[in-house]
């Protein structure tokens, strides 16, 4: 809030303090590392998106005519692996979280800046291996690596892909470790737990999952690798090994990973909704409790991916029950966001449009979660397009919307420039429409019984597949737009104030962009989070 007389361009900040490749590649500044991550994951987002487009084009007709069956299998496998492990999981934590958490808690940096940089290098190492996998023929295990298919029957680059994901797993672990310690030990004086922004809470919950879940994924993939390379027989049915053991270990992480892909998004949306309703979040304490509850309960539900896999009837009952328990805190969050709008002063900025989109799509995704958690229905719809639609509503409709919303919300802070608001709103609208057109038909396809991962399909499924492909092309345009105008705005965008939204939170009390050490003086916090009653509204026309 201290708009000094010096023009922003000339104020020293983290972007103009040093120049040159070296100053970026050897930086320990969490903000610069966030930007390194931003570039890396954007790259993978478009690779994964390209695979998705090819998949949708192939599915335009029932016959397998655009690509070979093996190629198609590689496309959906690598789409899944790239999007999940190289985009969605790092998206909000490693980019926005990295950039914002230290600032939001009034610290100069994360607790372990060098480990933060190391985590990016580990990510790059894994990325290199993944690119090697893609360029040298790809992999067709499905992103789930189910044994014994992956260990015995495929001849593609399974080990390289597993290693790539094993390695990026350590990058998540280090990020999570860093966040946990930072949030515990680096908070500014006066910033108690009950004063933390929900974005910080959400990333804290995510970090718990990173730290406790990722190692189990790492070991299960490592065992797949050992089984392929050294013929160890951990999952080999010929030796009495149980393929379901792999699924148990895999989903022990990969189900909580779904919450990794949504919790930070919930954090982002909480910030945006509060800011553009100009209100303290409704039920702050319950919101904070809910994210922790989701992270903890999320570990008790993994076998709901395996209801038809041959697990015991009784285990299925237990896991289904827990799945409904984890739905409760998710419902609480939706109700609280809605209640926050009540008697607010709501402005329809681009981030807010994304937040609306998030709440809508997440509600749909969550509601369909109730369908698939019901044992009887899950038997019918699991491994069909119903599941595809369900998790895309959560992960794309939810997380990507939140990620884009967050990028727009904090773009002035990150770049010091405003994005073009008109284009922003247009893109948000296109993405919302394109998304629904792509994925809503897939719910119907799934209930009709179209299995997932099908290269060719029965003709009665075609109409809905055509709709879905049409939606995907709209969605593609929607995703290209923000990238283009963000790039444009870095040079031509209007210069941003320190606090263009009149938002609460420590990150808006420092300059835009912040200096390398974030604050000239560590603030002492004497107020609650979202103290919008104490903040001046920014005049409507200036937004």
């Amino acid at each position: 809030m201290t708009t000094s007389a010096v023009p922003i361009r000339e104020r020293e900040n983290y972007l103009n303090k040093e120049y040159g490749i070296k100053s970026w590649l050897l930086t320990t500044d969490h903000k610069r590392i966030a930007l390194l991550y931003l570039m890396s994951i954007t790259f993978f987002f478009f690779i994964g998106g390209f695979f998705a487009l090819l998949i949708r084009l192939e599915l335009l007709t029932p016959a397998g005519d655009l690509v070979q069956a093996d190629t198609y299998n590689k496309l959906f496998t690598m789409h899944g692996q790239v999007m999940v492990f190289f985009f969605l999981i790092p998206a909000v934590p490693a980019v926005l979280g990295n950039f914002l958490i230290p600032i939001m808690i009034g610290a100069k940096d994360l607790a372990f800046p060098r480990i933060n940089l190391l985590s990016w290098y580990i990510f790059i190492l894994g990325s290199a291996l993944m690119l090697y996998t893609i360029l040298t023929g790809g992999v067709d295990t499905g992103w789930t690596f189910y044994t014994p298919l992956s260990t015995e029957f495929l001849t593609t680059k399974v080990v390289a892909a597993a290693m790539a994901i094993f390695i990026v797993g350590f990058s998540s672990i280090l990020t999570g470790l860093n966040f946990i310690v930072t949030i515990h030990r680096m908070r500014a004086p006066g910033l108690t737990w009950s004063r933390l922004p929900l974005f910080v809470w959400a990333n804290y919950a995510t970090s718990i999952i990173f730290v406790l879940g990722t190692p189990v994924l790492a070991i299960s993939l490592a065992l797949v690798g050992l089984e392929r390379v050294f013929h160890l027989g951990i999952f080999n049915p010929k030796l009495g090994g149980d393929p379901l053991l792999f699924q148990h270990l895999f989903w022990f992480y990969s189900h909580p990973a779904v919450y990794v892909m949504i919790l930070p998004g919930m954090g982002v949306v909480s910030e945006i909704v509060a800011c553009f309703s100009r209100k303290r979040l409704f039920g702050y304490k319950f919101m904070a409790l809910a994210v922790i509850a989701i992270a903890v309960l999320g570990f008790l539900v993994w076998a709901h991916h395996m209801f038809v896999a041959g697990i015991s009837l009784y285990a299925a009952l237990v896991f289904s029950l827990f799945s409904y328990m984890v739905a409760v805190p998710s419902a609480i969050k939706v109700f609280n966001w809605t209640a926050t709008l009540y008697k607010g002063s709501i402005s329809y900025t681009t981030p807010m449009l994304y937040a609306f989109g998030f709440i809508g799509l997440f509600t749909m995704g969550g509601m369909t979660g109730l369908f698939v958690a019901a044992l009887g229905i899950d038997v019918h719809v699991t491994d069909t397009y119903f599941i595809i639609a369900h998790f895309h509503y959560i992960m794309v409709g939810g997380m990507v919307m939140a990620y884009l919303g967050g990028m727009h919300f904090w773009w002035p802070k990150i770049s010091g420039r405003m994005y073009p608001e008109g284009w922003g709103k247009l893109a948000a609208l296109i993405i919302f429409i394109g998304f629904n057109l792509t994925f809503f038909p897939q719910f119907i396809l799934g209930y009709m019984g179209m299995p997932r991962r099908y290269w060719q399909y029965s003709p009665e499924f075609q109409v809905l597949n055509v709709l879905s492909t049409a939606g995907a092309s709209i969605l593609a345009v929607g995703y290209l737009l923000p990238m283009l105008y963000f790039l444009w705005s870095m040079r031509y965008g209007k210069l941003a104030d320190d606090n263009p939204w009149g938002a609460a939170g420590l990150e808006w009390m420092t300059s835009s962009p912040p200096t390398t050490s974030n604050f000239d003086e560590i603030p002492t916090v004497t107020w609650e989070a979202y103290n919008y009653d104490q903040l001046k509204e920014v005049p409507v026309e200036r937004q």
Binding site: V308, I346, A373, Y457, L464
Partner: protein, 332 residues
């Protein structure tokens, strides 16, 4: 009524009706809740839009509301859970006396063996109005037996049996899909389930030429492989008497008790020394790799048929005639 809804899948089993009922219930429930939430969001967004002279009113929250919207959804979720679990419980509990079809899945085809002896590939004929139980195993990767019109799905695993059952209600031809990704031609691993009226089904059964019932094939194998040298029906052999074994609990050497189900019999043929019944020596050689999955199915069908008092199917009766039933099984 649902038949007239566009894109609603065909319903051809007793399970399908149950699943649809819960599905429709959830559609209505979630539809209402979604509508309510979306309406509230839209109404709030318009009514409380930012404008001159309007300021946000700070509301801390409300414990009463929070508990309400924790408790009520919690209860509703519990009801859905119970309903879903009830359906699942039935799906996983095959009725007594079902016709049995042994299934071997492999990349990328379905092989079926009817108890009556008919064999089919990628096509399965079943009658209307009869419980049919699928006893399935895979020769390679994991596959999944999925018939959308029946609303059933069950993964088919290598190394053991998994089972599924259905009761077809409407004649017609329905899709069979492999629902678990299994390699290159996963999408080609499809087939037809042909549901026939009982009379036509009988005609189809008898039209297939002279095929021996599966249990009879198994019996032949039983003696060819030399099993009968040790497994005597009088209990005097070196191996346990197998008559009446099926479905009974077996006390093992290590003190545990197991039910002699299909998986137990299969395991004992493949890894004989792993689950030795109390009082027997680990002398039986393994047959893993020596008998194919189809032969294994025949052996299991034969051993199951031993000592069944009430023959439930054609195969059972013909075998029971050959093998007189003995009163007390030695293994219990």
């Amino acid at each position: 009524m649902l038949e007239h809804v566009p894109f609603w899948p065909a319903r051809a089993s007793t399970t399908a009706g149950q699943v649809d009922a819960l599905f429709v219930f959830l559609l209505i429930l979630c539809g209402i809740v979604c509508l309510a939430i979306f309406t509230m969001i839209v109404v709030f967004a318009i009514r409380y839009r930012r404008r001159a002279g309007h300021e946000a009113e700070q509301i801390e929250g409300s414990n009463a509301l929070e508990f309400t919207w924790t408790f009520i959804p919690g209860c509703i979720f519990l009801c859905i859970f119970v309903w879903g679990a009830y359906i699942y419980f039935q799906e996983r509990t095959p009725p007594q006396g079902a016709a049995e079809v042994y299934t071997v899945a492999k990349q990328w085809m379905w092989k079926f063996q009817h108890a009556e002896g008919q064999r089919e590939i990628n096509e399965l004929h079943v009658p209307v109005g009869r419980d049919v139980r699928m006893i399935m195993t895979s020769q390679d990767a994991i596959h999944s037996f999925y018939v959308p019109a029946f609303r059933i799905k069950q993964d088919v695993l290598p190394g053991r049996y998994t089972t599924a059952w259905f009761h077809a209600t409407k004649a017609g031809t329905y899709h069979l899909f492999c629902a678990e990704y299994c390699g290159t031609m996963h999408s080609g691993m499809t087939g037809d389930i042909v549901v026939m009226e009982p009379a036509q089904y009988q005609a189809w059964l008898s039209g297939g030429g002279s095929t021996a019932p599966l249990a009879v094939t198994g019996e032949k194998l039983f003696s060819e492989l030399g099993c009968s040298t040790c497994h005597h029906s009088d209990g005097q052999g070196r191996g346990p008497n197998l008559v009446g074994l099926f479905g009974k609990p077996v006390l093992l050497e290590d003190g545990r008790t197991m039910i002699a189900d299909e998986n137990y019999i299969r395991e004992c043929i493949q890894n004989p020394t792993l689950r030795i019944p109390k009082g027997y020596k680990p002398i039986m050689p393994t047959f893993q790799g020596l008998v194919s999955d189809e032969q294994l199915n025949a052996l299991v069908a034969y051993i199951k048929s031993l000592g069944q008092t009430q023959p439930k199917q054609a195969a059972g009766s013909s075998v029971a005639a050959v093998r007189p039933q003995l009163p007390t099984p030695q293994v219990h």
